[in-house]
């Protein structure tokens, strides 16, 4: 078990290294930050001066070495555009992002798992289909359309809720609803399907044969087993959201989050911000996934055996 966890951690570290390297080279391939630093229309002389000043003429291996060095000494440099430490910029946005993510995940789990069980148990009646259909609505409407719609209804017309920033708990409602709406259907669907898998297993048949009530058996045995699958899907969903899902919501609700920071940095080719930002997000995602993987393997005896053997 411990060797397995260690090996998983080693792979995580290796993945991290691959990402760091990819990001370093990809950012430099995608263009120059100059036009975004001072504004477009620079003369050739200006360009040359600025390239020297921002050390864009440093050979790539030198820059790469400095970047790798930063992984150890923590000096990730200054943003080209804001000229302040990128670590400050990321720190400013990490917590608001995490808050929103946690809120959305909590709401999603509270709604999606019970609804998924309902959809599985009533799979052959209209109830199952109806529950699924409603959840689809939230998922199937583009996130920003739903967000703007919520803004118009609950703030513009009804004037019930605020739309700008993350100042109070009230500010969480609309962004959380928007993000959850997109996740609920997926988690619910996997819950339902995982439950259906469990329903088909022999021990369920045995349980039923013993005359036990299906609903209770499902909740007792089924959910426990299906929980493994659900766990991994939830992990993936959170990871996906952490990685890219939130930029739309952040833009619309003026939420000071990571998604907006990263997309802006990518558009403006602010390499230092992009590098450190992606690195932070990747670290979070890898951690989530590694934990889920280890938990997954640990919870599933068959995989544990195979994992130990291979």
């Amino acid at each position: 078990m411990i060797t397995l966890a260690l090996r998983r951690l080693f792979r995580a570290a290796f993945t991290f290294f691959v990402i760091v390297t990819l990001v370093f080279f990809a950012t430099r391939m995608s263009g120059s930050p100059l036009d975004f630093i001072i504004g477009e229309g620079l003369s050739a002389e200006d360009r040359a001066t600025l390239i020297r000043y921002y050390e864009l003429d440093r050979p790539w291996w030198d820059q790469y070495r400095a970047f790798l060095g930063a992984l150890f000494d923590g000096n990730f440099g200054l943003s080209f555009i804001e000229r302040r430490p990128v670590s400050t910029m990321v720190a400013e946005r990490l917590w608001p992002s995490a808050q929103l993510l946690l809120a959305a995940t909590a709401v999603t789990l509270l709604l999606a798992i019970p609804l998924g069980v309902v959809a599985a148990l009533w799979r052959n009646s209209w109830i199952g289909s109806a529950v699924m259909s409603v959840a689809f609505m939230g998922y199937a409407v583009p996130n920003f359309v739903l967000a703007v719609f919520l803004v118009l209804v609950f703030a513009f017309w009804l004037n019930w809720l605020p739309v700008v920033g993350n100042g109070t708990p009230w500010h969480f409602i609309l962004p959380t609803v928007t993000l959850s709406a997109a996740m609920i259907a997926a988690i619910m669907r996997f819950t339902r399907n995982a439950m259906l898998d469990v329903l088909g297993q022999d021990y369920m048949r045995t349980a039923r044969a013993k005359g036990l009530d299906e609903g209770r058996v499902v909740v007792k045995h089924g959910l426990r087993n299906a929980g493994i699958t659900i766990l991994s899907v939830v992990g993936l969903q959170i990871a996906a959201l952490a990685a890219s899902g939130s930029v739309v919501v952040e833009t619309i609700f003026a939420w000071p989050g990571m998604g907006e920071l990263l997309v802006n940095a990518a558009i403006r080719r602010d390499y230092p911000v992009l590098q450190f930002g992606v690195l932070t997000v990747a670290l979070a995602v890898i951690l989530i996934n590694t934990c889920v993987d280890i938990a997954y393997t640990w919870a599933d005896p068959r995989l544990r055996r195979s994992g130990a053997r291979r």
Binding site: D35, F36, G41, T49, L152, V164, G167, A254
Partner: protein, 516 residues
Amino acid sequence: MKHLLTATALVAALSGMAGAAELTVAAANVSSYLDPGKDHSNVGSQFYFNSFDPLIHKDYSKADPEWQPGLATEWTLIEPTVMELKLRPGVTFHNGEQMTADDVVFSLNRMFQATFPPYQVRMRDRLSNFDHAEKVDDHTVRIHVKREEPLFETLLNLQQTFIIPEDYTKALSGDPKVAEDSDYEAFAMAPVGTGPYRIAEFVPGQKIVWERFDGFWGEQAPLDRVNVIQVGEVASRLTALRTGEADIATNIAPDQLSTIEADPTLKVVGGATPLFHVMIMNQNHPKLQDARIRQALMLAIDRNLLNEALWLGKAVVPDSHTMEEFGPFYMPELKTFEYNPERAKELLAEAGYDGSEITFDTQGSYYTNGMLAAQAITEMWNAVGIKASIRDLPKWSGNDPEMMARNWSNPMYFNDPFGSFGVMWAPGGPSQSEGRFNTDETYAEIWDRFRFSKDIEARKAAYAELMDHMAKDPAVLPLYRPYESWAMRTDLNWAPKPGHIPYVLDFRAGSVALTN
């Protein structure tokens, strides 16, 4: 349910409450840095005027420049190339320092003799005729120019020549006695000036908080506090007005005006901004080297239709690169650009246009209505037989040799043709350096007369020649002066003043009032 909102701490920070006069502005963009010296962006120009002063002010309620004392109370040319200025006594910076001649000399020379590369850029494109500033005594400075300068006052009114404190800036990093590049970098995160509002908080890309500066030398600011928050999405900006989270929302596109007008508690003010949305063309692209092709591209564009359709007729379509704000240099009599699709077709035939694809670059929704105009323009080109398509790029392409035509904006950086056309189209300037615009000796000679003639008529005549040159071998077509709108509460009295450069949010005394 409204209690829901009012119960929150948020609302305590909002305006309209008894006592403190406070405003919140929902801005489409908040700057990434605040340094009046290096910045010339449309985003940045919103924010400097409240916190900084130039040596020479003007009456901003008038389009024609009417100079007024600023941080200098008197100024005289003591030699053809030397101006002496008497400084206003008793001026205090936001950090409590007294302003002296040293601060003025430091502020000016950091630009005139720039060593910090971003300042060098601005020095070259507009301040290159300045040689240096020197201190005479604590309240007198002299400014030396290289050649006689017809635009002395104008250039000392610029955002780039706003005054900043010397000791404070030098002490920001490294050696407190030496001005290092890192000091200027640090200044942009913690700017200090002499204006009526101090910058109490600045989070790049998110918010700016102004507080009234009680030590201001002039008339006290009317507001205690102004919060500027970035709200990028237009629906959210409009909504923030309705929920009371904001009192003013910037950058409302014409198509959204009807939403505001339907609400009696809100109003819109706006006007044609002193800025042109332009189409630039690459003179050196192999497919466009024949000037007749570029002329045809211009003649095919019905700018009045664009105005009627996309700007509800509220934009201003110019006949030449000229605007009223140029004062004596406003030249409506010039007819440089026109719409004539028949002539466009003839020119294409004469030039032997081979039907190859001509692309129009645009940067998404970077400019208000930019994407719509791009699509409409390519459609107009198609109508005269040009095979046209759009390249929507997430970046500037003006320095890309593949660029054929694209949209750009040409703001008026100061009230003179040099401050608008001149900054972009000087010989050796940005457009030429980027390889899409050529000048020859003739152009340079006309340019020199336009830039340095002391006689107004001589400068005007030279400008007319430049425009003629541009019509014969075109590289730019001004499309229109866009109509910019600010939406706000009806009880708020604020409007952009005609004497300002584009987008300035002026909250000084006399510029804003609450009428409840």
